[in-house]
């Protein structure tokens, strides 16, 4: 029994390490010189080299990271403002057709982006909002709003009815009831929803590559530009990819539990 359990643990670790290896390799390559990064057999020991980081910063990665930050944080804030009241309204009974509304929201999330991107592109083009980071933020808010509403609703549903009813008997209006009584109880859930929509916006590539060209370019299209690279560039690419992935990895590691729930849109406890 002991032996079997030990073997299973060993197997688990071997598989986990194999699975994690590409990420580990990315971080390792980020600190190699181009020659070391391209070396075969692969080099595990080397003198650290920061040229990759210097190069991508010279190529303007700082401003692309800043754009990603504006679009993701901006869209997350807009989503919070819209989704908190909506999710609350959908979590309490008096709203008729709650189910229809929920169904509507969720179906907008699964509408292929392809179906809406052309008009948005044309409209943005005609009003000079192409390559505008605010416009991109608005689009991100629209795509991720349904997830936030679904997830927050599941947290709102957990607030004991008695608490809300007590507040109502005390004569609290809807606004007071929401901000003073319910909101403090569901703050962790709201934070989790915010984290998820932030991650989705930060990682988004398709819309970013269509709606931005230079001024508002975000990190994913910048990374993708490495595809046409010549010569040795794995070191620089790994440095850029590491910088781009780090914020989300850090956030995800810290908030693993909330992550599960957010990804399952509240269906998993």
């Amino acid at each position: 029994m002991r032996l079997r359990s030990g073997l299973l643990t060993l197997l688990t670790w071997v598989l986990v390490i194999a699975f994690f290896f590409p990420v580990f390799w990315m971080f390792l390559n980020a600190f190699k010189s181009e020659n070391d990064a391209a070396s075969i057999p692969p080099k595990f020991f080397f003198t650290p080299d920061f040229q990759g980081f210097e190069l991508v910063m010279q190529r303007g990665m700082g401003s692309y990271l800043a754009n990603s930050f504006i679009a993701s944080v901006g869209s997350t804030l807009l989503i919070l403002v819209l989704a908190v009241p909506a999710a609350y309204a959908l979590s309490i009974r008096p709203v008729k057709k709650t189910q229809d509304t929920l169904f509507f929201f969720i179906s907008t999330r699964f509408l292929p982006v392809a179906a809406v991107i052309l008009p948005l592109y044309m409209i943005f083009k005609s009003i000079g909002m192409l390559d505008n980071i605010i416009a991109l933020g608005f689009v991100y808010a629209a795509i991720n709003l349904p997830i936030a509403i679904w997830m927050m609703r599941s947290f709102f549903l957990e607030v004991p009815k008695e608490i809300v009813e007590a507040a109502q008997l005390d004569g609290a209006g809807l606004f007071k009831e929401l901000t003073r009584v319910v909101l403090p109880l569901v703050l962790p859930g709201i934070a989790a929803a915010g984290l998820i929509v932030f991650i989705f916006a930060w990682n988004e590539y398709f819309l970013a590559t269509l709606l931005t060209t230079s001024d508002a370019k975000t990190t994913p299209p910048f990374l993708a530009s490495f595809v046409d690279g010549r010569g040795l560039f794995l070191g620089a690419l790994s440095a850029a990819a590491s910088l781009a992935a780090l914020p989300v990895i850090a956030a995800g590691w810290i908030a693993q539990k909330q992550l599960v729930r957010g990804l399952a849109m509240g269906a998993v406890k």
């Binding site: 390559n29 909506a86 509408l111 292929p112 179906a115 990682n203 399952a264």
Partner: protein
């Protein structure tokens, strides 16, 4: 109380209902503005002859764009590519995710660290993941995977050239296995310990316990993960744009539309592709959403 003032109470209820409805409005209006209206406009575009390269040819053409969508011979292969990539990635991620969830649902040293390492591929920016795999794993000269293959005495494999579909599915499976694992692990951990203990007292073996107790309990979680995974993966774009550019049977619907609209600059035809993509997705999505809706409303949630 109810008999004393039924009218005023009803009034209060009514006012509350209105107020609740009104705080729902901003989100609703925003969603309609940003998704429904553009979709209607897409339908209008799809009836126009509108190529950005030929601005003088602009005009209404009825169903011509749809006819060229269905007769050009690009639609069917891209439907197959979309279905094939999505289903392969979902099945493989589900199986691997289930395996990892079962392995991690045991007490062992460093369990939390193992889980943390395992979820990382899902957190990596998809564009970054595709590039890292393309250059540091699959590359014929400097890729680690090919180094292993050649060390074992085989010829290097030209992954993205000779096996584009496999390449895309591998990267997607790598990214989505953690997603399935997380949801399934949450399911495993919500199993009642008493039932499991009772089963082991009754002398049920590990396999029978898994078959008769764990699997039925996991049904909801498997459904949730498959539905969400399918819906996300149906729209997959990043690894195709970065690794294969749609070659070798990897031209999914979203990539095809991108190619038509933003490389070919044919707005009318691309819009028609968009509408067709929506109709096809509705087919999958109504079934999926209906099932999911049930799962979400009375399944793992409330």
């Amino acid at each position: 109380m109810e008999t004393k003032a039924p009218l005023s109470l009803a009034k209060i209820e009514k006012r509350r209902a209105w107020k609740t409805r009104s705080i729902l409005l901003p989100a609703l209006i925003f969603a309609i503005l940003m998704t429904q209206i553009p979709f209607v406009v897409t339908i209008v575009y799809s009836s126009l002859n509108w190529n950005l390269l030929k601005p003088n040819d602009f005009g209404f053409v009825g169903f011509d764009n749809y006819i060229s969508v269905f007769t050009s011979g690009d639609l069917w292969p891209s439907i197959i590519a979309t279905v094939l990539i999505t289903s392969l990635a979902v099945i493989l991620s589900l199986l691997l995710g289930l395996m990892f969830a079962l392995l991690l649902d045991r007490k062992f040293k460093g369990q939390a660290i193992a889980r943390t390492l395992l979820i990382t591929p899902f957190l990596i920016m998809p564009a970054a993941a595709s590039l890292i795999w393309k250059y540091s794993m699959f590359d014929t000269n400097i890729g680690v995977l090919n180094w292993i293959v050649t060390s074992l005495g085989f010829d290097p494999i030209e992954w993205s050239t000779n096996f584009p579909l496999v390449t895309v599915v591998m990267v997607l499976t790598w990214q989505f296995t953690p997603f399935f694992m997380l949801i399934l692990l949450a399911g495993l951990q919500s199993q009642s310990k008493e039932v499991l203990e009772a089963a082991s007292v009754d002398g049920a073996g590990a396999i029978r316990t898994f078959q008769w107790i764990t699997l039925p309990h996991m049904r909801t979680y498997i459904e949730i993960s498959v539905l969400l995974g399918t819906i996300i993966l149906l729209q997959v774009f990043d690894p195709i744009a970065i690794m294969t550019k749609g070659t070798g049977g990897t031209k999914t619907l979203s990539y095809l539309l991108y190619e038509r609209a933003f490389i070919g600059l044919n707005v009318g035809e691309a819009a028609a592709y968009g509408v067709v993509a929506v109709i096809l997705t509705i087919g999958v999505a109504t079934i999926a959403l209906r099932t999911m809706f049930k799962v979400f409303l009375d399944g793992g949630g409330k």
